[in-house]
Symmetry: C2
Subunit: 420 residues, 2 copies
Amino acid sequence: MARIVMKFGGTSMAGIERIRTVAARVKREVEAGNQVAVVVSAMAGETDRLVGFCREASALYDPREYDVVVSSGEQVTSGLLAIALQAIGVPARSWLGWQLPIHTSDAFSRARIGTIDTEALDASLARGEVAVIPGFQGVAEGDRITTLGRGGSDTSAVAVAAAMKAERCDIYTDVDGVYTTDPRIVPRARKLARVTYEEMLELASVGAKVLQTRSVGLAMKENVRVQVLSSFTGDDAPMADTLPGTMIVGEEEITDVERQLITGIAHDKNEAKITLAAVPDKPGAVASVFGPLAEAGINVDMIVQNIAHSTGSTDVTFTVPSADLARSLDVLGQAKATIGYDKLVHDTRVAKISVVGVGMRSHAGVASTMFTTLGERGINIQAITTSEIKVSVLIEEDYTELAVRVLHTAYGLDAEVEAA
Amino acid sequence: MARIVMKFGGTSMAGIERIRTVAARVKREVEAGNQVAVVVSAMAGETDRLVGFCREASALYDPREYDVVVSSGEQVTSGLLAIALQAIGVPARSWLGWQLPIHTSDAFSRARIGTIDTEALDASLARGEVAVIPGFQGVAEGDRITTLGRGGSDTSAVAVAAAMKAERCDIYTDVDGVYTTDPRIVPRARKLARVTYEEMLELASVGAKVLQTRSVGLAMKENVRVQVLSSFTGDDAPMADTLPGTMIVGEEEITDVERQLITGIAHDKNEAKITLAAVPDKPGAVASVFGPLAEAGINVDMIVQNIAHSTGSTDVTFTVPSADLARSLDVLGQAKATIGYDKLVHDTRVAKISVVGVGMRSHAGVASTMFTTLGERGINIQAITTSEIKVSVLIEEDYTELAVRVLHTAYGLDAEVEAA
């Protein structure tokens, strides 16, 4: 008997008809002999509605009370799914965050999961009940409700899977897996059968919006096998353990045959470029730029420092999330005297293109192929960053789709088109 | 320093603007030096929405999961009111049923409040915080959420007031007090300054829909002074302790000067009359009629048994709530052989008119005045019941308004009209 966790997002829980479809799907896993915990999101749109109420009540709302309000969305869907399961003969009960309990830190509205007590859960599963667990919520010391931040339900599912030592955590979503790149840009993108945690982290953080980044990091840490699959296939779809979704696993599970040099190409248009012109070229200058940004909690990504001008100054270029641009300019404006730069310019019409793959660890030439391919198309590279399994470049935003397509072909990722 | 409980219904909580108005009102009580707990309902319409989801998910929903779902409505408003209070500088926090906790029976969806722990509440009030408590909810043994049944928020408010030994429980509602009768029928109806628990119970149970009956019973048992007042008066309204609402108190608080023979006239169109013709006139016959109805949980109200016919049979007439009519007919149909009646007839076009007043304990002639007054207008009385402080008659529904008006005048309840 296997233990599995199934996670359904807001679209799957939007209304009773869809909740019934979810119940039918859960029933099939139970009938296949599995012990099942289901983690659910709020109905699509509900969390936005509740967040809106809080903001309207006060721009500076108390995050403890915000958590009381917004956690109610998942409370509702977990009760409803339990009812829908019982209606088709599947014993089920809901377990709210404070009932299980799912212990979290007391960072209200963005709490982190600590431990999950499994005594009651184990007993319930042993009785043959499906455990329906609201995602996104937990409880902090002092018995106060917490939430994990937006998209936290994926993280809840992985944490529950780790705590109950589940064989698999199936994330049902509105895509049917992880692709080599965005299929809307490259119709010949291929669905990946397997991808490593590290690759998924790089793909997710640079724009392949399938899973919340935090949940992938947790899955890697806890070694939880996560499967991404579509919630839109019908009752006659194959069982989840044979479904052609994408399995996110440790590198050791990827065979040599499967291993590709490059796993995928990601793009991200939500970055903004900032350049400080003529920063004094002296020790401590760079620290004076990035210290204030770090203090303001702004994540700086790609950093390029040009070689010094003959005048003894240098230009510093870096990117920040577009959402943090205004705040970044404010922070840097205030620090102008300290830093001593001449001019501050910014540009939001940039995109970050990344090639990702654990295979590049043992192969040289990946970056070189990238630069050559882009160069041949006349695409200028404004900045470069690399990690062990990723090379990213910053380019002009208008070239995003072209860059993704030519790189997808250059790395041999295009699916073969069958002869008609 | 006085302790008071303020209770606001769904109309008062319908949207952030109204919640802000509630917060301002609470602030005035705090600034007057009171320790305040606020009990809130869900936003108007929200409980219906949530109940609808449960019914749609399964006609035979699990009441434990139903309680998880529907209790969320008050969870949301309690968090939002806490935020709105903090926004105007009033320290506040929400206390959900399981946090306080409010212990209840495990009769899910219609639980009864047992004890309320006040240790944490007392400490919170002592710190100068307003305690915002969702009405309608509690927690049963085993840490499962319960609800008290529709209208339960009034009961929550009275229970909290009793537990915290509040000086007063102010129920803000969409009427500004309890009237001698329905002002829509009798424009000259007067607002009562004080009414006893017993009178309020009779007035509420026969149709003066101001407070949930159960909450009045609890207030009587716990000796909680309850004030009914309007939630629609503005910021410049007098403070609640000087507001001209209606105070519901023990009989000992009513002075002789205030005491009236009759306090009010109530009417109720939600009853249906059932007559069993030719029931055998023998011992046990009546039991065979009302036994099955009691087993089905149907409350039988007015009962009239005619004197026996010469044939050795009798007619039995009684009323049930209109909502239970179909079920009652079903139960009686099945028991036809056991009871041995000849014919079963029913009539929904009836109304119950009641005159209520503790004064009638020491005064004869109240019933007689009622019968005479109605007779003079040609209104036929189909059934009569009396209690120590109430006389009720069943009449044809079309005469309801006429009956209420003539009785209001006959008992001297009409307000004096000032000369223009």
